[in-house]
Symmetry: C2
Subunit: 107 residues, 2 copies
DNA sequence: TCGTTATTTAAGAAATTAACGAAATACGCA
DNA sequence: TGCGTATTTCGTTAATTTCTTAAATAACGA
């Protein structure tokens, strides 16, 4: 949880998550979308991975990154439920996901 | 959004939000719950207030803090919708909520 | 007014973060 | 084996964060 919120505190990392929302990308493709050096992007990716928000897989020369959605949704959802007695929107999302047989809700 | 995520990156500030989930508290009562000096707590509170996550009101000698729930819920909810394709069905719910005059949806 | 309490502001030290370029590592291809 | 590409690690620097103590501000009550 600490790592998730620290990871989300950076706009570069949130942008990376947004890019990975629709498709997986390799490290170079991600770096090309952020006006930033490749080593800096690599560091951001390792922070996201340590937080469990993305996963990487090396295929040939490339390292592909994809989002790990459950961890993001569950962490934010759990926090909202802990802190917000009226945290309805995420609760509904959670319920809808459960009804569809999606990942479980921690709260 | 940037300020909200920066505010949430600190465990002390998340703990403050949790304390304020159920009741309002004055600055001294919050400081008493965190093993930290009062000036440090005051600074955390000002960061939370700048992020729109809490509001303060001075009553006599004391400054009372309360949570502003909509901002937390809407920011996290909007981010999940942007980043998590799995959360898309919720957008219809958000539209319905807006039509009923409930809290607004940033997505 | 004076003394006490509650809170914030100011100043500064210690730790962390974020970026860069250079170098190292790993892979693919010939 | 050797070259070129992709990615990460290393070493460094600048900026930011977080905390502390001391001082300032504001309000209460005698």
């Amino acid at each position: 949880m600490q790592r998730v919120f620290e990871a989300l505190a950076s706009s570069a990392r949130r942008r990376i998550l947004a890019y990975l929302a629709h498709t997986e990308l390799n490290a170079g493709e991600i770096a090309a979308r952020l006006a930033m050096s490749k080593p800096a992007v690599s560091q951001h990716l390792s922070i996201l991975e340590a937080a469990g928000l993305v996963a990487s897989e090396k295929r040939g020369q490339y390292v592909f990154y994809r989002q790990v959605q459950e961890n993001l949704v569950n962490t934010l959802n759990g926090f909202v439920q802990e802190v917000c007695p009226i945290g309805r929107p995420l609760r509904r999302e959670s319920a809808a996901r459960a009804a569809r047989g999606g990942p479980d809700d921690p709260g």
